[in-house]
Symmetry: C2
Subunit: 363 residues, 2 copies
Amino acid sequence: LDRVDCRSSSKTITLPGLVDVHVHLRDPGATHKEDWDSGTAAALAGGFTIVGAMPNTSPAIMDHDTFELAKSLASSKARCDYGIFLGATITNTTLLNALAPESMGVKMYLEETFATLPLRDDLNAWKEHVINWNSPFPICVHADGRNLAAILFLGHLYNKHIHVCHVSHKEEVDLIRDAKLRGVHVTCEVSPHHLVLCQKDIERIGSGQSEVRPKLGTEEDRQALWDNLDYIDMIATDHAPHTYEEKISAKPPPGFPGLETSLPLMLTAVHEGRLTLQRLREMMHDNPIRIFNLPEQPNTYIEVDMDEEWVIPKKLGFTRCGWTPFSGLKVRGRVTRVVLRGKLAYLDGKVIAQPGYGQNVRT
Amino acid sequence: LDRVDCRSSSKTITLPGLVDVHVHLRDPGATHKEDWDSGTAAALAGGFTIVGAMPNTSPAIMDHDTFELAKSLASSKARCDYGIFLGATITNTTLLNALAPESMGVKMYLEETFATLPLRDDLNAWKEHVINWNSPFPICVHADGRNLAAILFLGHLYNKHIHVCHVSHKEEVDLIRDAKLRGVHVTCEVSPHHLVLCQKDIERIGSGQSEVRPKLGTEEDRQALWDNLDYIDMIATDHAPHTYEEKISAKPPPGFPGLETSLPLMLTAVHEGRLTLQRLREMMHDNPIRIFNLPEQPNTYIEVDMDEEWVIPKKLGFTRCGWTPFSGLKVRGRVTRVVLRGKLAYLDGKVIAQPGYGQNVRT
Ligand SMILES: [Zn+2]
Ligand SMILES: [Zn+2]
Ligand SMILES: [Zn+2]
Ligand SMILES: [Zn+2]
Ligand SMILES: [Zn+2]
Ligand SMILES: [Zn+2]
Ligand SMILES: [Zn+2]
Ligand SMILES: [Zn+2]
């Protein structure tokens, strides 16, 4: 039997190319974990045709020269389309706006995290960034609790759009819901790992391997995310690869890979009746495109076998990190084909698009 | 010559009884620093006929029993009228609203300070207090920087009136101005010590004696307060007495006395052309009355000799604390007479109203 016949009993559907606005490609600086090549291969394997690369690399992407470096690395290595975030620092409050038109957006780290870009608790620096950023692309924040409330207030005061990364606990999703109901212009994303995992999974996954920021929440936190899914605009993986050796070391860095598992995990939720396929499409394509002012990619789509059941293996096919916290989970649904701007980019386990095929969404 | 003739060459004016919404009377718990008797005597000597007593006493005023204790102490000892604040804690989020009608308001300590009432960085507790407080009396906050932005956001989300205590630095007054310009319902007070003193005065005053929260700011901070005086609703002393021995000890507690010096310091500013007498009246009477929903006191007024020049002494007449950070400053203007609800309460250096004459403004 050929492939088509083999699949005749299963349901294959077509979706637009997915958009993941939040990935860490570790390039420049930590390419043993990931680089623009391996990371965008993992993206295509996961059904993503656009990724937004976070700026907490080494060096961090925080000024003209580092931005040029990232653009150049991406241009030669990326296999799918991409945008590049600028990182806010205490000292670059007046620099970023000039770079904004070529960026995916600006990222503000308001918490201690795996970042070379801490903004500490300096409200003045936060405010200067918010005031000076005059771009249709969002101000993305890593912020918990009171820091989230504070940055949302600044966004409200100065009429800027704040996008909240990886909302993960009841505290934050409740605040964002209430802000939306009050008419505050805020959007947010959730990562599949915060929807699928919680503190009860730490023993099974292993303590170092479970380290992620924001931390895995309680069961109540996880349920609050599902209960408020109507107020969450999009899924983003927060793909943050570290090697297996790093994760089992004495000082495990926080972060999970996610590009190759996010769609299957969310399709499994569709099968379980926890969200509709239409809502998944909104959260993984329509809303990221609209909210990040991204161009539609012509002649771009993915094909998904909705019924294939499989168990997530210890190692995924394309990310360089060599492990996944979802190992052992049974999922239903798999990407079989990706067509990106008219060309076959991925087919049945093979990435076909070459390094350099990917385009910067802002140029 | 009798007193009237002696003053014939000076300008005596009449003002309504002043209102100080922010005093620490140390009673119960630290009556060697102050109590309801000595503190309200100092209030009358300073021209105040209503004071709002903060709840960070020992025990703190945070539930029914401690509130009853404070009301009983005040009722037997106060010489001027008063209101009593309730203190927010991590554990009394559902208790306070029932006590609200008899209170001056609720006080939330969002910073580490001289408080038995810390709310730490627990956004959920902050939010519960804001949501549960359903009273026309304000939610008063001790909050700096990002904590101020966060609590103002909660007030905005849940349509509650936040009153910001002792705004003292450029960062906070700028934020409050911008919030007001954006239509956020927020009010604030400034303490005379933040208008008159700055870090340059620390050497002269002495380092322990200069300890106050919020700390004395830079000259730029102080200037920002004057520059934004139009956005500051009221003067409040934050009268926070500690003894001279405590202030010069190895661990000096933060806080200044202020009741007997605030009006002379502000009148001196009037003489210097830094604010008008009309604006002083708004900031020390009209606005506190309106914003804290206080009753007008019938037949109540004070007489002020506008021209008397004097040097603030080492010890003031009525506060028990025995020192002042304003010692040595030359001021112009002095309270000569206070009439409270038809009775002479203070005359030329003598407090005449007796303990127990003061009434609770909420009953
Ligand atoms: Zn983050
Ligand atoms: Zn959280
Ligand atoms: Zn991230
Ligand atoms: Zn589309
Ligand atoms: Zn305070
Ligand atoms: Zn401050
Ligand atoms: Zn105080
Ligand atoms: Zn009046």
